[in-house]
């Protein structure tokens, strides 16, 4: 059975019906990220596709609000026409997950999808300033609003970001925007090993020149030789000046222009290098300086491909889907190095067998369960998608 409400009122009715029937719901936006998370198959689907349309756009206030099912591309092109952008440049999962459809703005919020600009412009959760959602009691709830500064009451906005729908069905989301930079360029350093590369990225990020992208692609990832990449986005004069200053700090390199910068960072953000093969893909979040250690330890267990974003703090790994798909090893190394790991791409049977999201300490898991119960006591929304039992 598929529910596809046209309004928040209809959404409330759908949830009320589901609740009365004790029938859990799989929440679907554009369907591009259906393979994210533990495989769950509730009896009914709730699609946000008819909850579409931008409800507020004030370029002068740098804020946009849209119903949850609005295609992300619609929002992006609308604000681009006013030279604005979503600051966090969300990852498009279609290439990596070989999925089709159009990602929705609601899913970007619910899954807290951030991109390479996380290091300089914050994550999706940092730009999300308001939500409306329907909780498991079939009540329409709001938190936050349309203004940038707002500490009125508990911040349920952040809590919804990254809850993967488990704490309610988002009906409308409000994001703050930033002006689109006039110009962008990327400094490329060649041939560095991982440790020296992350060190260079750290020096760049520790400079006053506002590096907005910091990645390292080892040899064999997208090109034959290793590339260490630092992006600057600003007014054209500033980009030129800052690239010059930056090279005094991290060493001289070649410079990619606007167009080459755009396409390369799109590949990095979307993990295009690992698209179209049968390997599983892990996403590891750790402290940049410890990331090369993480990779070294992981490599002892067997062959893998990897690259770094977020100045080293985000590591993408591709490895064989055999056995536990590396889960035991990855989690053991995470425990040693600090951080957490998510299995972003794997066949459904693997995602059913191993923990997709990082297992949490009992004390934290207790809080997650209590929160789930406070929003969705009957476990109607995406039950088990993140963790068993929530």
């Amino acid at each position: 059975m598929i529910f596809a409400p046209h309004s928040e009122d209809e959404l409330v009715d759908c949830v009320r019906t589901a609740r009365a029937r004790k029938s859990a719901l799989r929440i679907v936006g554009g369907g591009t990220r259906q393979a994210l998370g533990r495989p769950v198959a509730p009896p009914a689907t709730l699609s946000t596709k008819n909850l579409a349309g931008v409800t507020l756009y004030e370029p002068g206030e740098m804020v946009v609000a849209a119903r949850a099912g609005t295609p992300l591309a619609d929002v992006e092109s609308l604000v681009a026409a006013h030279d604005q952008m979503l600051p966090f440049a969300p990852m498009d999962h279609r290439r990596l997950l070989a999925s089709a459809g159009a990602s929705t703005i609601g899913a970007v919020a619910a899954c807290a999808i951030s991109g390479s600009r996380r290091i300089s412009h914050g994550a999706a959760r940092d730009s999300l300033i308001g939500v409306r959602f329907v909780n498991g009691l079939a009540q329409a709830i709001k938190s936050g609003g349309r203004v940038m500064k707002n500490v009125t009451g508990l911040d349920l906005v952040k809590l919804q970001a990254g809850a993967f729908g488990a704490l309610g069905v988002l009906s409308e989301v409000t994001f703050k925007l930033l002006p689109r930079p006039e110009s962008a360029a990327t400094l490329v350093l060649r041939g560095l090993d991982d440790t020296r590369a992350v060190d260079a990225l750290s020096r760049g990020l520790g400079s006053p020149f506002e590096v907005s992208g910091a990645a390292h692609l080892p040899a064999g990832v997208g090109a034959e030789s290793a590339r260490t990449l630092l992006r600057i986005e600003n007014f054209a004069d500033s980009v030129a000046y800052r690239l010059g200053e930056l090279q005094k700090i991290v060493g001289a390199g070649e410079v990619l222009d606007d167009a080459a910068t755009a396409s390369l960072w799109c590949d990095i953000g979307d993990v295009a290098f690992f698209a179209g093969d049968g390997r599983v893909v892990w996403r590891v979040s750790t402290a940049p300086s410890r990331a090369p250690d993480f990779v070294r330890l992981a490599q002892r267990a067997g062959p893998l491909a990897h690259f770094y974003d977020w100045g080293g703090g985000l590591v993408w790994l591709a490895m064989s889907a055999e056995g536990d798909a590396g889960a035991g090893m990855v989690r053991a190394v995470v425990a040693q190095v600090g951080g957490h790991a998510t299995l972003v791409r794997a066949p459904a049977d693997v995602r059913a067998r191993v923990d997709v999201f990082q297992p949490l300490p009992a004390s934290v898991m207790r809080l997650q369960r209590a929160l789930k119960a406070s929003f969705d006591p009957d476990r109607l929304f995406n039950p088990g998608l993140m963790y068993d039992g929530v």
Binding site: A123, G153, K158, G206, Y241, S363
Partner: protein, 477 residues
């Protein structure tokens, strides 16, 4: 008597005061326990000084473990707890209840670790906001959120209130700059949330914890981002004939795709008060003043300023004055950051903190003036204009109860108007007790009940700072 109500203290708890003090004395040494009446009075209020009540006792724990033992004891004994940092809250967030124990983090002030490679610092919750920046300044780094109270206020209090500051337009507020916390729950459980990496697994608990107003637990340590200082920074003063012209100029700067580091606003009365205090060279003939700060190389700052000046000229700017020296820069910011203190020397005041959409700034300023005047009082406006976070300072005589009531009424009317035009009750000072009873203006019964259920997921017993944030009537369990 003033109009905000605290719940009546529980006589059974008051009667057990001695037993409770003895219980706490078993956990912490005498130097960490405040029991004498005069000493406890030091904790009876915060920066919302019109309200005060003396707590049962005050504990000053030295470690996470000690904090955990104290909370475990209070939980077991059914005693309420008021978490406290430096007590600079403007919304009464740190005012105790008579039947509560204050747990103040002021002995936990160490910077535990500074990690430049990963651009993070690990600190104890009682360290001051400025203490973090001071610890890394020599190496060219800083902690970005800069509340005007930064010399005194603690990072634990900043996390409690999700505090902002003048430079948040570019760098974000507390929630955007904290990566992890160690927090003690009311039953003494110690939880670690986040770390020195940029996101955390599971629901975003950190997002809920920042801005929790002392209701979810006691934060004992935090990992915060530190950033490299800009090459240079230069504040520029822009004088305008009227508040309307200044407000419209702010909206146009943002609309033109320019996001300076800071855009601060002062109206005529605020200019006079701050200039008398700081001698910063503010234009006394102006009806309103903007302090706009730009950053970068000299050439970059010049280029950005040229753009901003062109916009200001369209709004009839009457004075443009750039800081020409570090001393001038310091004076300009000193004037702004001591605005509340300087106002306090002229009159008693309450400081409102509503946010309005940028496009409504001029309208809200006008209405603020009308409202305050209708109560026969005066108002000075000094605030973070770039993000629409207003701070009308309503002046009154604290010794005149009728005037206090008028001031509070005027404040309420202003906040209601902020909500009406699409803004909110509080942009950075928190709800506390001050705005507690206005919450139904912004939220429905269901909205509030959902927040309260989320709160109860951390503190089922409602022992933590329970007089605050949520209206006393109709509380969900």
């Amino acid at each position: 008597m003033s109009s905000i109500r605290f719940p009546a203290p529980d006589p059974a708890i008051l009667a057990r005061r001695e037993e409770i003090v003895v219980g706490l004395a078993r956990i912490v040494p005498p130097g960490c326990l405040v029991t004498g009446l005069d000493e406890r009075r030091a904790f009876e209020t915060d920066a919302l000084t019109a309200y005060r009540s003396v707590p049962l006792a005050v504990v000053l724990p030295r470690s996470t473990q000690e904090t955990a033992a104290v909370l475990r004891y209070c939980h077991g004994a059914g005693v309420k707890v008021t978490p406290r940092g430096a007590g600079t809250s403007l919304s009464g967030g740190a005012i105790p209840q008579e039947d509560s124990v204050v747990v103040a983090l002021t002995k936990m002030t160490r910077v535990l670790d500074v990690d430049y490679a990963n651009r993070v610092a690990r600190v104890e919750a009682g360290v001051t906001n400025l203490g973090i920046s001071d610890a890394v300044a020599a190496d060219g780094f800083f902690y970005a959120p800069d509340p005007s109270s930064q010399l005194a206020c603690t990072i634990g209090g900043n996390i409690g209130m999700n505090s902002g500051g003048a430079h948040c337009l570019k760098y974000g507020v507390t929630t955007n700059n904290v990566l992890g916390v160690t927090m003690v729950l009311i039953d003494g459980t110690i939880v670690e949330i986040g770390g020195d990496w940029l996101d955390a697994p599971g629901y975003d608990l950190l997002g809920l914890i920042v801005g929790h107003e002392g209701q979810l637990g006691i934060v004992t340590e935090a990992t915060v981002r530190i950033l490299r200082q800009a090459e240079n920074a230069r504040p520029v003063l822009f004088g305008f004939a009227s508040s309307e012209a200044a407000g419209a100029c702010v909206a146009d700067i943002i609309a033109a795709g320019i996001v300076p580091v800071a855009i601060e606003f002062m109206d005529k009365l605020a200019i006079e008060i701050c200039e008398a205090f700081a001698r910063a060279g503010y234009p006394l003939d102006a009806g309103a003043l903007l302090i706009v700060e730009v950053e970068g190389s000299e050439a970059e700052m010049d280029a950005q300023l040229r753009r901003i000046v062109a916009i200001a000229e369209r709004h009839g700017v009457t004075t443009v004055r750039e800081s020409k020296s570090a001393m001038e820069t310091a004076a300009i910011w000193k004037g702004r950051k001591s605005a509340f203190g300087a106002t306090g020397r002229v009159a008693d005041y309450i400081c409102m903190d509503g946010t309005a959409p940028l496009g409504q700034l001029a309208r809200v300023l006008k209405r603020t003036d009308e409202i305050v005047r209708s109560y026969g009082l005066r108002v000075a406006n000094v605030f973070h204009a770039g993000d629409g976070n207003m701070h009308p300072l309503i002046m009154y005589n604290v010794n005149d109860p009728a005037e206090q009531e008028k001031a509070e009424k005027a404040g309420e009317d202003i906040l209601k108007f902020c909500v009406e035009v699409g803004g909110c009750l509080t942009g950075e000072h928190g709800v506390g007790v001050e705005k507690r009873d206005l919450m139904p203006r912004q939220f429905t019964v269901d909205d509030l009940a959902q927040q309260m259920r989320a709160r109860a997921a951390f503190d089922e017993t409602w022992l933590l700072n329970s007089a605050k944030v949520f209206p006393l009537e109709g509380r969900a369990a």
